[in-house]
């Protein structure tokens, strides 16, 4: 896929919506299209986190392994979702496993290069950070709700 096409695909993704053209060009230079088959492991806990993914089609399970219980899905991320932010936060290592639940197409972005670009251009870095912070906020709220075990109400 050409850089122009990737730039267009990225521009259509909600995570990059309304991002300025020069920034999209920068991102497209670090992007590649990747396909994962159903069941394929995308990354494992503790691995270096040099890439992150925007999901175009399919579904990814974020998992952790619990002794005596085996792998447990703690979240699924579907189309238009963002997978992974450990590339942005030291020590740049994965916190969970990720596995494609079904045939999944993603745009993989080189987090290491993006970190360098963010350091060089703080406006770009701030723009990207705001967007990642928004995803983090959504995930934090969802996790809090999960922890509340909200369905344990008594109504019928």
């Amino acid at each position: 896929m050409s850089t122009e096409t990737l730039e267009r695909v990225l521009a259509e993704h909600p995570f990059f919506k309304h991002l300025q053209r020069p920034y999209l060009e920068l991102l497209a230079e670090c992007a590649s299209r990747v396909r994962f088959n159903a069941g394929e492991v995308i990354f494992r806990e503790s691995e270096p986190a040099n890439l992150f993914y925007v999901i175009r089609r399919g579904k990814v399970a974020v998992e952790t392994f619990a002794p005596n219980r085996g792998p447990i899905i703690i979240q699924t991320i579907g189309e238009e979702g963002l997978l992974g932010w450990s590339w942005l936060i030291p020590p740049y290592r994965r916190r969970f496993d990720a596995r494609a639940v079904e045939l999944t197409w993603v745009i993989a972005l080189d987090g290491e290069r993006l970190r360098e670009m963010c350091e060089k251009d703080h406006d770009f870095g701030y723009e990207l950070m705001k967007r990642v912070a928004d995803i983090m906020d959504q995930r934090l709220q969802a996790t809090r709700l999960q922890l509340l075990d909200v369905y344990d109400g008594v109504r019928s």
């Binding site: 998992e63 899905i73 979240q75 969802a142 709700l145 909200v150 369905y151 109400g153 008594v154 019928s156």
Partner: protein, 278 residues
């Protein structure tokens, strides 16, 4: 002189069928034990179910409003009365008062899209809506059911969920809080599914039922999607006793849940919905 039936006197209904939904939730099909006619109700209304010698509880009707000959209730066994009800077998008799309360605005929603958001056993009071919408499918635009439960084992009405999923004109999104790695469905809280549902925010009625904290978070997502409070309907729960607005047990701000609810339009309760003291 013959008059209206006393709303405080239960009618006897006989259990025709008991279906186990989950480890602690059962659906009971009831028919009049005294040869009376069927049991007409509107989607969203509730009955007071009386387990003789134990006590009475308010339970929403979960059956099909177009089939009033059988009264259907889905009951979760969590206290002395619901435990007694869940132990009933075919042929046993239960006291029933009702139906009481307000109903989901299924007729008012005609001409637009309808989104149903249910959490846990909150699907039970919304099932009559689904039956109604599917029976009158041509009157509505897009229909969507968004349903969340704690685990796969806690999902209600599994056979029907599968059937509804098979409808090309009903979008069904189901999620659970946690699942084993072999599961291929969605994992996450119910609110995470709302951004995926397609609807026209200006022409959509959203009907929400579940634990109050879930509804609170759902409201935020709906607001983010541009749904106005006048288009959101919620079923509220408080400690209902008399069911006719005499006792005041279920007072909710200036309203009584039993008489003015349980289904409220959000803009009517917005001012005090999130007040902890109410």
């Amino acid at each position: 002189m013959a008059g209206l039936p006393d709303p405080m006197v239960p009618s006897p209904l006989r259990v025709q069928r008991v279906r186990r939904e989950t480890y602690d939730t059962f659906t009971l099909e009831l028919e009049p034990a005294n040869g009376a006619d069927g049991f007409s109700f509107a989607a969203g209304q509730f009955n007071m179910l009386y387990a003789f010698g134990v006590g009475e509880v308010p339970i929403s009707i979960s059956g099909d409003p177009t089939k009033p000959q059988t009264l259907v209730h889905t009951v979760r066994s969590v206290g002395a009365v619901t435990q007694a009800i869940c132990k009933l077998k075919r042929g046993d008799v239960l006291g029933v008062r009702g139906p009481f309360g307000s109903h989901w605005p299924v007729e008012e929603a005609a001409g637009g899209d309808v989104v149903i958001v249910a959490g846990g056993i909150g699907l039970a009071p919304l099932r009559p809506v689904i039956y109604y919408l599917l029976s009158n499918r041509e009157k509505y635009g897009r229909l969507a059911l968004v349903y969340g439960a704690r685990t796969l084992q806690d999902l209600l009405y599994n056979p029907e969920l599968e059937k509804w999923r098979g409808h090309f004109d009903l979008a069904v999104e189901v999620t659970v809080d946690t699942a084993a790695a072999s599961y291929r469905g969605n994992v996450g809280v119910v609110t995470t599914l709302i951004p995926r549902v397609q609807f026209d925010p200006l022409q959509t009625a959203v009907m929400v039922c579940g634990p109050e904290v879930m509804m609170r978070f759902t409201l935020r997502e709906l607001e983010a999607r541009g749904i106005g409070p006048e288009n959101i309907f919620m079923s509220m729960e408080r400690n209902m006793k008399c069911a006719v607005g005499f006792c005041g047990h279920c007072q909710f701000g200036p309203t009584f849940i039993c008489k003015d609810g349980p289904v409220f339009r959000y803009d009517q309760i917005q001012a005090f919905f999130a007040k902890r003291e109410v």
